[in-house]
Symmetry: C3
Subunit: 321 residues, 3 copies
């Protein structure tokens, strides 16, 4: 594994899940793997679970993690080549990237989308430039379009919870929210579920909220939430803004919040959400407080997902040197 | 010690003081006690001394401390159960608490009061919810109403400075300030002094500035500062806003700033303050610059207070596992 | 080395360069030197390269580095003695300094100038007060007037790149910018180059942009950039605001941006800049992207400069104790 920006960087999803599960059983089994190595954690947007779980994972591998919280405003990076930098951008990514690469063995970055310009967001220029110019493995802590550590943790949680000898039905359902959110968690979950291919995977959302089809090809897409939830074993609840009418939130008829009533149509489904969740907007209190909820397990599993990925990146550095 | 939110969590104040004093003599004597354990330091309000001293203490016990600076605005937590989260709160404490508990062995938290609503502030909902839902020991780094690590350090400082074979007279005196401050340092010092019961303890403040009586029962309360200071061995200077007319700062006749002239009424009293101090508003420069001042010693002792408390919390985890 | 605030704190520049170069060859050769020692990194202004490189350096010496990011607004320090603190300052440096000194073995501080008042900025009161009252070695991470770690790294980069058996010609040239910048990088580079005395050193800038002469005595100063660049072996590009008309940016006739055309007048000069750089304002893209550019090397060398300085400060503590 040279970088970790999407499911395409994983040689095999099940192998990665096995590695994560092994760290969960024995967190310190590779405590010397990262000795003398440094992980730089660069946050252009705020983070709770991602930051803490990655710091914990790094520490369990014996790596030093140095966090660098820098708001997009605090450190306005220029991403475009050839411009005259007489505006608000203070540093070009081409100058910053190799310096960061000289300080760290692995670089982990979080940067949210603008939700203003689909082309710009979906070209992931920041990550592409860092990959091209930093000279070290790059780890996504959530980009404009994807959140691979979250997805790995989500699928680990599904695999742990599933005890039956058949493919589970997993449904990703859109949910209401009070403001426009990125599509990244949904894009990424779809991409990983399809690549994993160990479950029947359905996506349901209102008209106007279709995800970019390159991420969802292979999934069943249904506009009727009730029909989609029928006999589901897992329901992943998540809001996202429109991709077609980029970043907007077209009005949605009917109530898409997941409630206990709706859950009765499922096969006693377990309920998932990446957190933070708006209670009684996306999901009802009673669902979140019930034994059906896997949300704490998903967040706790972030540590093992991050640890498996960091271990693979560390091994690829060792091979190189 | 299961948690550390107030003096009630200390089995015995003198035992705790002895432990702190022992760490001061030999900072690294328990350098392996916290090995493999993680302390999460969550700041909803800014901190200088508390943050640094607790990080130092954790490090001397071999613990990894991970700081998480998150302004109240940056991470608007919902504390009330059952609400529809369609406003500005982004995450419910019931969802955040168990996740934090999964990442850390001990959770330390700072959160200031609103000073708008006495009932809300004094019910300490954030701490109660974290205690109920995180599943790990909780350490107060200053709550709306109390600041127990400060008080432990304050009493350690008094015990170190007192060489005579009689109970010292300790006076907590209100002092002027330029803006409304919480009551927590004063509440907490009163609570600890009364529980410690090794000194004669007097509180003096202007009318309208009475502290909540549950914290001060057992103390002598005098409205005349001059009378209160008479023969004092220690004078603790601190501003607080009104508890009765909650958060307000009723006008105060006379001058309550502690000066050298006033100190002459005392028994060459040592002068204390928790810092930061407004020079020549709360305390005169000449007092702060004199040998009477214990303020640096108090702040330096924060390390040993935190180390003693963390050691007790670590031991209680070890017992459990 | 008792403190590190300017070149005057270095016994010998070449010895310090040798030490930095030795750490570059063997980063972990003194990995036990800082064992049990703590470095406090206090940022009153933001930092990227300085913060990260110093953390890395400390870690390679086995020191614990604790970062304390506090904006000037977040922690408004009072620097003047004797004032009544009834304004916006929340803490006096005389109270904060000894507390910080009790938590740390070495204190590193960054604080930018106001650019409003030359006398105030150039008296470096914050650093002087910390030196006087903290009781521990003080390390500048950039002050109002100097940036010694940058200069040490710059000269290390020059020494590494220079292979000929004669004194190189080094030119510091003013460059355009979009806003007023401090003089500190230029002051400091001049001070170090003159003290090092292993190169012919020329400064070129437009009229009105003279640096304070105490830093430049011994350098050749030329107002004609073309003439200055003639046969240069190294060109250090940097903007600064006026010292005479303090903090202002008098209009400059002609184009001072460094381009490939201008470089042709030099002796195939290597090009330097401390970063961040405004591309196509200070320096053209083509120069920065060419093999002539040393900017990444300069920033990467910050680690070894910091490590050499920290090692010297650690040794001076060991001598004392």
């Amino acid at each position: 594994m040279k970088h970790f920006l999407s499911v395409e960087d994983a040689d095999n999803v099940d192998t990665l899940l096995d590695q994560a599960a092994a760290y969960k059983l024995a967190p310190l089994k590779d405590a010397a793997l990262g000795k003398g190595k440094r992980l730089g954690l660069l946050f252009l947007n705020p983070s709770l679970r991602t930051r803490l779980s990655t710091q914990v994972a790094a520490s369990q591998l014996g790596m030093q993690a140095i966090v660098f919280d820098v708001g997009k405003e605090g450190w306005a990076l220029e991403l475009e080549d050839g411009v005259v930098m007489n505006g608000s951008s203070v540093e070009h990514i081409r100058d910053a990237a190799p310096v960061l690469g000289s300080y760290f063995d692995i670089l982990a970055v979080r940067s949210f989308p603008s939700l203003q310009d689909a082309h710009q967001d979906y070209s992931e220029v920041l990550f592409q430039q860092l990959k091209a110019h930093s000279g070290v493995p790059l780890l996504s802590l959530e980009s404009a379009t994807l959140h691979p550590l979250q997805s790995l943790s989500d699928i680990l949680t599904i695999r742990e919870a599933w005890k039956e000898n058949r493919r589970p039905k997993v449904v990703l359902t859109w949910a209401p929210h009070v403001k426009p959110l990125p599509q990244c968690v949904a894009n990424s979950f779809a991409q990983w579920m399809i690549e994993w291919d160990a479950a029947d995977f359905t996506i349901t959302h209102p008209e106007g909220y279709a995800l970019k089809d390159s991420f969802t090809q292979g999934a069943q897409i249904i506009y009727d939430q009730e029909q989609a939830l029928h006999k589901a074993d897992f329901v992943y609840v998540k809001n996202w803004s429109s991709y077609e009418a980029y970043g907007s939130t077209p009005e949605v008829p009917g109530d898409w919040m997941l409630t206990e009533t709706k859950l009765r149509q499922t096969n006693q489904a377990k309920v998932m959400h990446c957190l933070p969740v708006r209670r009684n907007v996306e999901l009802s209190d009673s669902v979140l407080n019930s034994a059906s909820s896997l949300v704490t397990a998903q967040a706790a599993n972030r540590v093992w997902a991050a640890q498996a990925v960091l271990a693979n990146l560390l091994k690829s550095i060792a091979h190189k040197s």
